[in-house]
């Protein structure tokens, strides 16, 4: 049986095989393809998802985003990242490596 996960900063998020991230030229947007649905990502979500590779931890993702967008506090970025990834995990579209 699959498991419900509660993401923590040290976790390493990844997409399951049935969810695929890619850039869509027609819509000029990053999207996640999943069974019978498509998630169209806003810019923030796209920046986060591009770093989800099943190798680096949520902490590292937050560090990288903090370097890139230094205007926001690290705490705020961390909150946003976990909340976004958890909402996908609740639907089974993000796993913990």
């Amino acid at each position: 049986m699959n498991k419900l996960i509660k993401l923590e900063p040290a976790d390493i998020p990844k997409l399951p095989r049935h969810a695929k991230l890619r850039y869509d030229e027609a819509r000029k947007k990053w999207i996640i393809n999943a069974p019978e649905r498509v998630f169209e990502l806003d810019e923030t979500a796209a920046e986060i998802m591009k770093l989800v590779d099943g190798v680096i931890s949520i902490n590292s993702i937050v560090d990288k985003l903090h370097q890139k967008f230094s205007a926001a506090s690290r705490d705020q970025i961390s909150k946003d990242v976990i909340s976004m990834l958890q909402s996908l995990a609740d639907k089974g579209f993000v796993l913990n490596e």
Binding site: M1, N2, K3, L4, I5, P16, R17, H18, K20, R22, D24, A26, R27, I31, N33, A34, P35, E36, V38, A89, D90, K91, G92
Partner: protein, 373 residues
């Protein structure tokens, strides 16, 4: 109001940027199928094998689909594994960036072929299960294949493919809904579709046998809501209710010609799989016209696109761009007028046509009229 609309529809640069971009194409590779489910979504007039389009034409359609922005290709039927070129088509679709989904009964496939499909880049498989009760399952399918289906689901997980169980529910199997949810969990599926029968084509012929009572439906809704909480993050459950009991019509296909297109085994391009029931419309064929042209310019795709075709009460309704007038095939089948408000809407002047079928729900159980060529 109509003047303002027509002014906007001139071919200005703004208009160009607003061209609708479809999300998905349903590729009905064949109408051949060993099962004969009495609610089959195929048209009553089925295509013979000799009318099926070639591998090359399917590949061209997939490539053209990507060019107009399609993201997902669903390979369906009939039974799509009856086509020997399925792996070839999946491989092509996958290489050009489409998300690929196989919609199958699971009775014609073995482990070797599933491995080949996995290697071809298949993203997801959806298997239909008619009931958890073997005897009833086989009665509904008109085919002895229940155990084979379960075995196929296990093989799908074994080769590493994601799995959706599609279970069409109705009066004769709703009592097993809890077991169906348990089966999806036991089979380690990611997703379960609890799809109540929608009454078109074959299903409309069998409506009295399938339409559940209001009590049955309410009970099912509670079961689904509870299971969604219990299995949050574990099993996604999509739930489609029969709209006869609804107050508002469904946003059929997300609006006519807005998000989706369907290609028949013979190469006709339709705004939805039931659209051929609108027998007054001419549907263009890939043998004569390109997919992009059909999507943008064909009479059939533009006939009910947007809101300008709508009569009252739809035209001035504040939900006109929410449900897009409901379902045209249903309006036509039940009222004989394809422009009419969907009778499942509480504001439809035709709402009364549902009284008769609803009054029969649960009182009679006629024999099935099985799908056949």
């Amino acid at each position: 109001m109509s003047n303002i609309k027509s002014e906007k529809s001139f071919s200005t640069p703004e208009k160009k940027s607003k061209t609708l971009i479809p999300y998905a194409m349903l590729c009905e590779l064949t109408h051949r199928c060993p099962l004969s489910c009495p609610y089959c979504s195929n048209p009553v007039q089925l295509e013979m094998k000799s009318n099926e389009i070639s591998t090359d034409l399917w590949k061209k359609a997939l490539s053209d689909g990507v060019k107009i922005g399609i993201l997902q290709a669903h390979f369906s039927g009939g039974e799509p594994t009856a086509r020997k070129d399925l792996e070839d088509l999946v491989s092509h679709a996958s290489q050009i960036g489409l998300y690929t989904n196989l919609i199958t009964s699971g009775v014609l496939i073995n482990e070797e072929r599933l491995k080949k499909l996995y290697d071809s880049g298949l993203d997801h498989v959806q298997v239909s299960i008619q009931d958890t009760d073997e005897k009833n399952s086989e009665k509904i399918a008109g085919f002895k294949g229940h155990q084979k289906k379960i075995a196929t689901c296990k093989l799908i997980r074994k080769v590493g493919l994601p799995l959706t169980i599609n279970s069409v529910m109705h009066r004769q199997n709703l009592h097993n809904l809890k077991d169906m949810i348990k089966l999806a969990i036991d089979l380690n599926a990611e997703r379960l579709e609890v799809a109540q029968v929608q009454y078109y084509g074959w299903a409309l012929k069998n409506q009295t046998a399938f339409l559940p009572t209001k009590e049955q439906l309410d009970k099912a809704t509670i079961i689904v809501e509870e299971a969604r909480k219990t299995y949050k993050g574990i099993l996604a459950i999509d739930y489609v209710v029969p709209d006869y009991y609804a107050k508002k019509p469904k946003s059929c296909m997300g609006g006519w010609g807005r998000q989706f297109l369907n290609i028949t085994p013979a190469g006709k391009v339709l705004p939805c799989h039931a659209a051929e029931s609108l027998d007054f419309l001419n549907f263009d064929n890939l043998k004569e016209k390109s997919l992009a042209w059909i999507w943008e310019h064909s009479e059939s795709f533009n006939r009910f696109r947007g809101t300008s075709w709508m009569p009252e009460p739809c035209r001035s309704c504040d939900r006109r761009e929410v449900d897009w007038g409901g379902c045209r095939c249903q309006a036509f089948a039940l009222t004989g007028n394809a422009d009419a408000a969907d009778p499942t809407c509480e504001f439809s002047p035709y709402r009364k046509v549902l009284d008769e079928p609803l009054s029969k729900a649960g009182s009679e159980t006629p024999n099935f009229i099985y799908r056949k060529f």
